[in-house]
Amino acid sequence: MAITATLHGGSPIAHGAHRYENNAATREQPWVRRLILTLALAFFVLFLLMPLVVVFHQALAKGWGAALAAVTDPDALAAVRLTLLAAGIAVPLNLVFGVAAAWSIARFEFRGKQILSTLIDLPFSVSPVIAGLIYVLMFGAQGWFGHWFIEHDIKIVFAVPGIVLATMFVTFPFVARELIPLMQAQGRDDEEAATVLGASGLQTFWRVTLPNIKWGLLYGTILCNARAMGEFGAVSVVSGHIRGQTNTMPLHVEILYNEYNFAAAFAVASLLAMLALVTLALKSWVEWQANRPVAQQEII
């Protein structure tokens, strides 16, 4: 299920629109063109651009000093640390999984491949609230493994491990979803040639596969990381909402907002918005890098 942007699905506008605009059969009358552009861009400004601008505008409503104080508050810094920790665990684990899943699905034929592929996408179609709920059911006080963990004095739910688990669940498919179609499209000829020529499995992977999939891998990792750092619903269910301890950045934003401390809430939110902008910039850069050699090949 192509529920996220994929590197080779939405390609950047490489050819330009001139070939349509200079062709009488593919262009609209000027007033139609103007109408469509106006409506489309008005929609873009109202629903995408303005929500982004408001974040920064509200963050600075009480001036730079207040914004800076809000993001350097010890509780805010603790939230930043926890967010980095959760993403730092979830993203590498899902990256390794993504590579393993793509290697098995794109390189071998086996029964049940289609089902496996669909199951990997499952977390994308589950509401984030349910993603949190399932870990409460498993590790909560009344959960399956609840007693065992309580006896051993280990806290999973309403503590940091629960946050990490919920983050792992919601970001589970990102890397696999990117790599599987990419590696399927590339075929296994390169790797088979390397193996037949005597390369070991690891050599084949490092020297043949990895260079071929590096942009897709990076792309999936960037999207995975953005979701890991920004997840709210799932983490909200499993977090104890204890300031300075079990609050990630999005949860800290919620707490500040619910205390009517709007300027501080938006100041922390603006950090996350900057993360989103960096994500989008990196994503565009990777698309440009990945598509460049292909475009040159087409010209030759």
């Binding site: 629109a17 873009f44 059911l137 296994r188 070991s200």
Partner: protein, 286 residues
């Protein structure tokens, strides 16, 4: 030399590449631990309820009101996104205008911006003292803290789903189709409705289904702007949290979760079928 035909090797071909057992084994174990076993907990937990109890929970008036809002707003938002998403994708592919690269990059903002940030920002924007909400006050229209607010949040969340499914199909369209239509005397509007729209329909429906499925389960961007008034502006994911989980009524929470999960599986199936149809119609592999 040929390997034996087995359950995991139906074609019986010799595998040249190493690592099949390791990678598949790791994939299955990790998938089971992180996704499958936790998800099955929802279904197993509901077996502690009788059918009558289950039905009483999922058909309680306050819960039914949330279905109406969640499904209704998600449907309306997806429909609005189909119309404007097509116009955006069309503009990005077919027209040149200043700032196009920026617009193209920012289409994915809802994927990248944390939902809580989107939530507080949308409610600031559409509140009656906000930039956009303020403009609607003279007309007596309130958006934030009403069901309209839910709609606005779901429109925001759904934009990239439609644009990013339609855009590649539009890019791959050969201009010959339209040239043939024009040379046979079709007006531009006829070409659009009779030639282009049929080709774009599977992609538009896929985008619609993706946006709809996401909208029904969406939580973070909605709760800040919805106001969360019982029977009026409460969404289904919220009722799992508020009325069930916070009252430690885990069976109640899981019963509603099962309804949402079954819907998700249905949508997953629908979307897979739509994508297969789309691939067949446009000749794309993906």
């Amino acid at each position: 030399m040929s390997a034996a035909v087995s359950f995991f090797n139906p074609t019986g071909q010799t595998r040249v590449l190493p690592g099949f057992g390791l990678s598949l084994g790791y994939t299955l174990v990790y998938l089971s631990l992180v996704v499958l076993i936790p998800l099955s907990a929802v279904f197993i937990q509901t077996t502690s309820l009788t059918w009558a109890e289950f039905w009483a929970i999922v058909s309680a008036p306050r819960v039914v009101a949330t279905y109406k809002l969640s499904f209704g707003a998600a449907l309306a938002a997806a429909a609005i996104n189909v119309v404007f998403g097509l116009m955006l994708a069309w503009s990005l592919v077919r027209y040149s205008f200043p700032g196009k690269k920026l617009v193209d990059a920012l289409i994915d903002l809802p994927f990248a911006l944390p939902t809580a940030v989107a939530g507080i920002s949308l409610s600031a924007l559409w509140a009656s003292n906000g930039w956009l909400g303020g403009l609607l006050v003279p007309f007596g229209i309130k958006v934030a803290f009403t069901p309209l607010g839910v709609l606005v949040a779901l429109i925001f969340i759904g934009v990239p789903f439609v644009v990013r499914t339609v855009q590649p199909v539009l890019e791959d369209l050969e201009t010959e189709l339209e040239e043939a239509a024009a040379s046979l005397g079709a007006h531009r509007r006829q070409t659009f409705t009779r030639v282009l729209l049929p080709v774009l329909t599977p992609a538009l429906l896929t985008g619609f289904a993706l946006a709809f499925a996401r909208g029904v389960g969406e939580y973070g961007s909605v709760i800040f702007i919805a106001g969360n008034i019982p029977m009026v502006s409460e969404i289904t994911p919220l009722i799992i949290i508020i009325t069930k989980l916070e009252q430690y009524d885990e069976s109640g929470a899981t019963a509603v979760a099962v309804v949402m999960l079954l819907f998700s599986f249905l949508m997953l199936l629908t979307i897979n079928l739509l994508q297969a149809w789309s691939a067949k119609r446009t000749g794309r592999n993906r």
